[in-house]
């Protein structure tokens, strides 16, 4: 089943599911996959830190990187995923406005992600981040395969 992950959203899936998220610009797309339990999750977080609007973060933690990433991992653990087996991949965190981007949202999203992963002893298996192009992700939960569409080209991540 195709499951679409909207902006500021997080979904999990099992064998047979394909998690899809479109148009990652400065947003972070984070994929977590357990090859043994065959479960996975995809997060599409918009902004780096929940401290700018804690109330919104309580209602929808997937909107922010610092609350969305823990939510993603916890949800995959609840489905049977184990930390030591997880494969983690990141995409997005670009600057679609080019040099005119004064808030550097993409860069900050990436920094907050890397800090969280470092604290929790997790390395990225693969990443496609930065630049001005928008990215779309198809994450096949059966195999953990990620198809990245970017600038009209498609390829595995």
């Amino acid at each position: 089943m195709n499951i679409t992950v909207l902006v500021g959203d997080m979904k999990t899936g099992r064998t047979g599911d394909i998690l899809v998220t479109h148009a990652l610009g400065s947003c972070l797309g984070l994929m977590v996959f357990d090859p043994m339990a065959k479960v996975g999750g995809l997060l599409h977080a918009m902004l780096p830190l929940s401290s700018i609007n804690p109330e919104k973060a309580r209602g929808n933690p997937a909107m922010f990187v610092d609350t969305g990433v823990p939510l993603l991992f916890k949800s995959v653990y609840e489905m049977g995923g184990a930390k030591e087996r997880l494969i983690v991949k990141a995409a997005g965190c670009g600057n679609p406005m080019g040099k005119n981007e004064i808030f550097k949202i993409g860069e900050r999203n990436y920094t907050v992600l890397k800090k969280l992963l470092w604290k929790n002893n997790i390395l990225l298996k693969a990443e496609s981040v930065g630049g001005t192009a928008s990215r779309t992700i198809h994450f096949e939960v059966d195999t953990g395969g990620v198809l990245l569409s970017c600038n009209g080209t498609k390829g595995p991540l």
Binding site: P35, R85, L86, I87, K114, W118, N121, I122, L123, L124, K125, E127
Partner: protein
């Protein structure tokens, strides 16, 4: 096979960061030895069996380059895979190190960069899944 690693850097914080990166990487690690300069590095190489050296360049007492020079004069040490992690900006110096068969990583580095370089040097057989 578990890999014994020697980390040579005059900054304790940097040695801890490299150590943590190695522990996160999924590499099958035996022992991790640390040294604060090239002289201490040579002492560690004399005392322990080392499979991989990760070293800085600019250090007091003895630089990384001098240590690598001494290692290359010793038949028992010259084949140990060595990765240089440094802020070194001089392209000529970097090229000179690369011609000696060394890998070079610029500071600041990402832990993924260290993992990928070690995998490049030692092969993925010494890594545990799923990070391999």
């Amino acid at each position: 096979m578990a890999v014994n690693i020697l980390i040579v850097d005059d900054s304790g914080v940097m040695r801890s960061m490299i150590k943590k990166s190695m522990q996160m990487s999924g590499l099958q690690i035996g022992e991790i030895y640390q040294a604060a300069n090239g002289r201490e590095g040579m002492d560690a190489l004399d005392q322990h069996w080392i499979d991989l050296v990760i070293t800085d360049i600019n250090m007091p007492v003895m630089t990384g380059e001098e240590m690598i020079g001494q290692m290359h004069e010793r038949p028992d040490l010259k084949t140990i895979p060595t990765i240089v992690v440094s802020t070194e900006g001089s392209q000529t110096r970097i090229e000179r190190l690369k011609t000696k068969g060394l890998k070079f990583i610029h500071k600041p580095f990402s832990p993924e960069k260290i993992r990928d370089t070690v995998k490049d040097v030692l092969g993925s057989e010494v890594f545990n899944e799923p990070n391999a």
